[in-house]
């Protein structure tokens, strides 16, 4: 068991998402940085898709009620376990009664905005429609269908497992798989259905501007600030299915990127779609930061997904070998 000691309205239990329920109008939810969630789980020998606690408001504290192996990935929050400093993207073991503290995200090389606390055996909450992710709009999944509150207690699936197989980490994917364009983070995008209906100047600006993530950005969507995108003629559409990553342009011309808690349908025109392999980069980009959209092809999008899959497979292989070695000693 862990007990949440912080009041932080936006901390939720997430896994890799509730795919396969869009046809019932149920959004995907899931970790904003699925790579960090999977990496934390793999460090512990969990399944990559086990549930974890996604922290996006800092500082944050939990107390362990039992001895438990854990991993901390995502934003580097200068975490401590009692008075012991913890490294980022690292596994550790807590003794019953110890308090884990996450400070404000830091970093000059890379700064994330969401941290993931993974527990041995995964965070044990009921599976709803095939996932443990919190579905905020429907108020189900995760822990009682809501964000975590002070005093909430979460169970680890296998608290006593792998206690002697912690104390190592992984090079964060932002360093292992960097993506930059003209000194800003680059987010790869496939042109979407209405892309060609924007003026040539707007299309050029879409691909060259430094887009700023405004404070009106959350797990539902990121509202961006930059040049105004103008269609050649007004575009009116019936509502249609959308997925996380879709970049809509409302009448004001400032795009919105749909994120994990996006509703499954919408009627704004779509200028592009952030590729699945880069959603984690956006999920970690802090409010106020800038980035660029970089055009990519279908094949490049598939190759990028292959690259992240390979990164996870390599982590799983090396972590398993290392845990075996530790277990043998």
């Amino acid at each position: 068991m862990i007990e949440i000691l912080s009041d932080s309205a936006l901390t939720t239990v997430q896994d890799l998402g509730r795919t396969g329920a869009l046809n019932w109008g149920v959004g995907i939810s899931g970790a904003m940085d699925p790579l960090a969630l999977a990496a934390g789980n793999l460090l512990l020998g969990n399944d990559a898709g086990d549930a974890a606690v996604e922290v996006q408001v800092f500082p944050f504290q939990v107390r362990f009620d039992d001895d438990c192996a854990f991993a901390l990935t995502g934003a580097d929050c200068a975490a401590t376990l009692d008075d012991q400093k913890l490294l980022p993207w690292w596994s550790g073991k807590a003794a019953a009664g110890q308090i884990l503290r996450l400070g404000l995200p830091t970093g000059s090389t890379w700064r994330g905005s969401r941290a993931y606390l993974c527990l041995a055996g995964g965070v044990d909450v009921p599976v709803v429609l095939g996932s443990r992710s919190t579905q905020m709009r429907g108020a189900f999944g995760g822990h009682e269908g809501r964000a975590l509150r002070k005093g909430d207690r979460l169970r680890a699936g296998a608290p006593g497992a792998g206690l002697g197989m912690t104390g190592f980490g992984v090079v964060p994917p932002a360093l292992a798989m960097p993506s930059d364009r003209d000194s800003l983070p680059a987010i790869r995008v496939l042109p979407a259905a209405e892309h060609a209906r924007y003026t040539p100047a707007s299309r050029t600006e879409f691909w060259t501007a430094a887009w700023k993530i405004t404070p009106q950005s959350d797990r539902y969507g990121y509202r961006l600030a930059g040049p105004t995108l103008e269609p050649m003629a007004p575009i009116e559409l019936r509502s249609h299915g959308i997925v996380p990553g879709v970049i809509q342009v409302p009448p004001g011309g400032q795009p919105i990127v749909q994120m994990r808690d996006a509703q499954p349908s919408g009627g704004y025109p779509k200028i592009g779609t952030v590729i699945e392999a880069d959603l984690w980069r956006l999920g970690q980009a802090p409010i106020g930061s800038r980035f660029r959209f970089v055009e990519c092809t279908w094949n490049e999008a598939l190759a990028a997904r292959e690259q992240t899959d390979q990164w996870l497979a390599e982590l799983q292989r090396l972590a398993r070998l290392h845990r075996l070695r530790q277990g043998a000693h």
Binding site: T109, G167, G169, L175
Partner: protein, 135 residues
């Protein structure tokens, strides 16, 4: 003593693209290093330790890091007092990062291997001056 023909091994080494070879026996060890001109020199496997020094060696092959890849400051700068088990540096193996823990409480006297150096099993990494654990 190691009962080996060092000259013969040096000759073999000169004919390969291996730059460093270390042999270790129960009581002694030897390291052969080949420079860019192909000349093999014979030296101690372990860097010489200070009077009360303790050389922390690499537990495995990897890239030795003084600091975490996300951090600007070293884990254990020279002069730092460390407790047993505290990471003095990291070994990167592929994308995995393993700690190089202090075997005993002490003061970091210096680094034998530079940040980013590729090191082998047993390579001296950190010089530690053990001190009694504080009460």
């Amino acid at each position: 003593m190691l009962h080996i023909d060092v000259d013969q091994i040096a000759a073999w080494l000169a004919a390969t693209d291996i730059s460093e070879l270390e042999l270790r026996g129960p009581t002694s060890s030897v390291r052969l290093r080949k420079d860019s001109a192909g000349v093999v020199t014979i030296g101690d496997a372990r860097p010489p330790a200070g009077p009360a020094g303790m050389t922390v060696t690499a537990p495995t092959v990897g890239i030795f890091l003084h600091r975490h890849p996300l951090h600007d400051t070293p884990l254990a700068p020279t002069g730092a007092r460390v407790i047993a088990g505290q990471p003095l540096g990291l070994l990167q193996i592929g994308i995995l990062l393993l700690p190089v823990p202090a075997p005993a409480p002490g003061i970091v006297a210096g680094m034998w291997a530079p940040h980013g150096a590729i090191v082998g099993f047993g390579t001296g990494l950190v010089e530690l001056h053990p001190v009694a654990e504080q009460a």
